[in-house]
């Protein structure tokens, strides 16, 4: 090979690399943080939490991400409040399930749930619970869809029947879902349920909420963060159910002045399975 051609190839190769990798490097330098670093910081330093969210929102630039100026609805679940009032969780669950006509089946195989109680070690399997203190031992944790910023279920769905709204809510189109259940395999939080049979068989038809549809058999469903209520300016049903206690706080994670951001700023919070890179929008105060 003659020398000129070699030189040309070298330059071409380097400039291609620069072209591909350059923007990413510049991006990182400008924001001054990498998403990995930001996440690590979040687990250690609660004070850094608020800042890292903004940084994170900037850091990702992929399709489907919430623009930093847009809304990103989220929840903070204060487990201390649920310990104070043991009936609160049941209230929230009941509010959710009756608002959304979630059927009840006695056969565990057909079970459908949007929000439910799980043992601490089941909700947070990555956290050590070798010698559990009495509080975590005796109390369960409310779990629900995390409305991830990078939702694996949305990535997996072959028909876009599950999608992320611009406001961060991961929602379902029950009329498009083909019932392949790929999203259920993809969800690392076990948040999705499938209508194994006609859901109306598990509903008291006299007590239906006529403002929300029942589903048909053969489609997947899950918590929708009450998109239908939020759209009207209301709070999600579970939040409303524990209203005065402030056990669940709902708000815009992208708004630095929101109540939820103040909560995140002043409390140490954790998320479920943060190592998977799903960026949940649901935070827990233990």
């Amino acid at each position: 090979m003659d020398k000129k051609r070699r030189d040309f190839l070298k330059i071409a190769g380097i400039s291609t690399l620069a072209g591909l990798g350059g923007p990413a490097v510049v991006d990182r330098l400008v924001t001054g943080t990498s998403p990995v670093g930001a996440r690590a910081a979040k687990e250690i330093d609660p004070a850094a939490l608020a800042e890292t969210h903004e940084a994170e929102a900037k850091g990702h630039g992929e399709a489907g991400e919430v623009a930093k100026t847009g809304r990103r609805w989220g929840l903070v679940i204060d487990l201390r409040k649920f310990r104070e009032d043991p009936e609160l969780a049941e209230k929230a669950i009941h509010a959710c399930h009756s608002t959304h006509n979630v059927p009840h089946f006695t056969n565990k195989r057909h079970e459908i749930k949007w929000i439910w109680l799980a043992e601490y070690e089941n909700a947070f399997p990555e956290h050590s619970s070798y010698y559990k203190d009495k509080l975590t031992l005796d109390n369960e944790v409310l779990v629900l869809c995390n409305h991830c910023d990078t939702p694996p279920c949305v990535r997996a769905c072959p028909t876009k029947a599950t999608f992320k709204n611009k406001d961060g809510i991961v929602a379902m189109d029950y009329h498009r879902c083909i019932g392949c259940r790929f999203c259920m395999a993809a969800c690392p939080y076990g948040s999705r349920s499938f209508n194994w049979r006609d859901p109306r068989a598990g509903l008291d038809m006299n007590k239906l909420n006529r403002k929300f549809p029942t589903r048909m058999r053969g489609v997947v469903e899950k918590c929708n963060m009450c998109a239908e209520r939020v759209g009207l300016g209301k709070q999600p049903a579970c939040v409303e159910a524990c209203a005065e206690s402030k056990a669940i706080v709902f708000g815009d994670l992208n708004d630095p002045n929101s109540e939820i951001r103040q909560m995140l700023k002043t409390n140490f919070t954790i998320q479920r399975k943060p190592s998977l890179g799903t960026h949940p929008s649901v935070f827990y105060i233990v």
């Binding site: 056969n107 565990k108 195989r109 057909h110 079970e111 459908i112 749930k113 799980a118 070690e121 089941n122 909700a123 399997p125 779990v143 694996p152 990535r155 997996a156 769905c157 072959p158 028909t159 876009k160 029947a161 498009r176 879902c177 083909i178 019932g179 392949c180 259940r181 790929f182 259920m184 395999a185 993809a186 969800c187 690392p188 939080y189 076990g190 349920s193 499938f194 209508n195 194994w196 049979r197 006609d198 048909m216 058999r217 053969g218 489609v219 997947v220 399975k273 998977l276 890179g277 799903t278």
Partner: protein, 390 residues
Amino acid sequence: MLEKALKGNKYYWMWLAFLGTFMAIGAICYVRQYNYGLGLTGMSRDVSWGLYISQFTFLVGVAAGGVMLVLPYYIHNYKEFGRITILGEFLAIASLIMCLMFIIVDLGQPIRALNVLLHPTPHSMLFWDMIVLNGYLFLNLLCGWVILTSEHKEVAPPKWIYPFVYISIPFAISIHTVTAMLYCGLPGRHFWLSAIIAPRFLASAFAAGPSLIVVAALILKRVTKFDAGKKAIDKLVTIILYAALTNAFFVGLEFFVAYYSNIPGHKAALDYLFFGITEHGVTYDNLVPFMYGFVILGVIAIALLSIPYTRRQNDFYLGLGCVLLFISLWLDKGIGFVLGGFVPNPLEQITEYYPTANEIFITIAVWCTGFFILSVLYKIAVKVEEDIHA
């Protein structure tokens, strides 16, 4: 050429009637499932894919296995495979039809299946799986039919078919790779989250598919005048043996990574599959016998296919070795891999899966439909061969 499938002796018709009976039973079961919903199966919130999807996964491998005949013949010009490549192509057709049927019976809303085309979603691996599976089915129908037709007319195959034959080779690899990607790209499913899944799938596919072809060739030799030839069979057995050993090696690597790293999430599904998990005093081990079967049958099969006497001198042992290997790999991929991946669930709770009778009959019916199609296609291929030599 289709008319060739309509002439056969009474055993041929009895065989088809036997398969047809199970197809009819399965059809009734499917009507029941269609009317009630997938609640008639043993699947649940925690084990949300069951027998259907695990059969699908295994059969994609059987379909891809046919390439182990096409590749040596068309790329390496290994003439001995000339007569049996058609068996590989027709096996791929039958397997792919089974795959598509298993997908359809697994859908909650089968009438909406075309939504995958109406709303194409490139970031979903299922979208790509649909493309490669249908693409591979089309290629095999085209190549198989055109080449058999020219054989029938005793002319050389038309030149334009060769590009399609060559494209079908990477397609065979792609169907099983993309099928592996359905599983290995899911965060939080530790058992599946392994870069070795696609190669392991391919290794087991290249053992399982050709095993079935050897068995078919041995049967055809007995009941028809179609003789694949000793040399071709022996070469195929070599391929099977290497593929089976590679698969065993990959399985061993999975064990090493899980148990040497000692990470609970990586060990959990293997624990459940091979040893059973005890939690709160309850032992969950309903898949352990299947996994033992996988290992024991696999060892016996590999021995039968390696020992010169059983491999070369005795068709019965050779056939037995291939059948056992096929069953062994089916236990691994057609049972353990998919079902084991759901245990424990994302909240580290254990739910076991037991298929219902209705579900099992539908599964049997899809298999019988595949073998029905395979029998008819092989009948045509064999008759064409016989006519040439008559």
